[in-house]
Amino acid sequence: MIRCRDDLSSMTRFVTWDLQERGGGALRRALPDQQDIVSVYQVAVEQSKKSQPKQVEEGKSKGKSSGVVTKRGEQDSSGALSPIEDVEDNRERDYANLVQLMEGALCTRDSSRTNLVVGGLVQHIVQQWREAFCKSAITKFNCYFMLPFVDDFHRYLRAELHRVSEGEEGGELSEIFDLASARRGLQQQVDALRNECSANKKLQEKFHMVAKMMQREQERGGFAGQ
């Protein structure tokens, strides 16, 4: 169920992202067709029609509404595949054939008919399934391989870089982001500058004192001369 939910959310995300498949038609196409199962059987029925000569038994099939297809000299009509014909509505005919085929499948075992029907079904399934599978595989790659690069990669890269910068990884990689040592270095530099500044201030004060003393001496010497 989790995987199905993942599929649903990813495909929804991809459909909204992809320009080619956008629109209501995409959703309609994604929904299963009620006729699919009928068409599968229809192919088997048509193939059996082609391969088996039709022998309509008018006299025997009085009670039935359609003709009966029998296999050449093998068995009677009750065991063979007999699609109902001459029904005006195709859909009704398909469903009738389907029901008949299912009844035949449930009740009897016939190797030649099994080979024919299963072979036809497999060929049809594989042929039709290829395109569906190709589309599905491409969608999976788009959803789970390509879109993560669009949606998630920047988050992943940021999170991993953040983790490395926090020093969780350890080793030399964290040295790139060793902000603590950089801060220590800067702090030392600031301290050195402050010390230098205070030393300069003290030196300046001494100079001021010397200047004042010299000035006083000069003033004293001047008065003494007068």
Partner: protein, 197 residues
């Protein structure tokens, strides 16, 4: 393949296109998907022996008749696995390669851009005699940082590749959806037949 090598080359030219071009990124990705689509269509239809059909028919739980759908699904599934697995592996490897190539390509583009910028705005350098002040202070040009980003990128590609693989393993899903519709998908535990390949 159901086509000859010559026809395949011709189809590559006409259906896929850009076969001789040096593409990267999205264009290369789309080209490989087009080629996968073509390869899928050109796969040879499987040959089915009577033995396979007879064995697949077997006996069901509910009745003694032949369950055509089940037998067809079993055979189609087996044939699909044989024919599609190599194609899917090749596709996964090629897409991993394409995505993996994105990092060096992007790195090259960033370096080119930085070089062009440096050449155009030389006067904006801060006057150091080596002339590469902004280049050296920019962390994206730090070799260790680049190697870190590259390893993270490769990890992400591998992660995506590992993530997509299990979703392709369930080959029967498409078969089921094709036959019974999404509502009866095996993951929903609402199977119409006791089909457990």
């Amino acid at each position: 393949m159901s086509v000859s090598e010559r026809t395949w080359d011709h189809l590559l030219q006409s259906e896929v296109g850009n076969t001789q071009h040096k593409l990267y990124g999205g264009s290369q990705y789309h080209r490989v998907l087009r080629e996968f689509n073509l390869a899928t269509r050109c796969l040879r239809l499987p040959t089915i022996t009577e033995d396979e059909i007879a064995n697949a028919a077997g006996i069901g739980e509910t009745h003694d008749g032949v369950n055509f759908l089940r037998a067809s699904c079993v055979i189609a599934l087996e044939k699909a696995q044989i024919s599609f697995d190599p194609l899917l592996d090749a596709l996964r490897m090629r897409i991993s390669h394409i995505m993996g190539r994105l990092c060096p390509v992007s790195e090259y583009m960033i370096r080119q851009k930085a070089d062009r910028k440096a050449a155009s705005y030389q006067y904006m350098r801060d006057g150091r005699p080596d002339g590469q002040s902004t280049f050296s202070t920019d962390i994206t040009h730090n070799p260790q940082f680049r190697s870190l980003v590259r390893s993270l990128f490769d990890e992400f590609v591998q992660k995506c590749s590992d993530n997509v693989s299990p979703r392709l393993v369930c080959l029967c899903c498409v078969c089921w959806v094709f036959l019974y519709g999404p509502a009866s998908h095996p993951c929903h535990d609402a199977t119409p037949l006791n089909f457990r390949p």
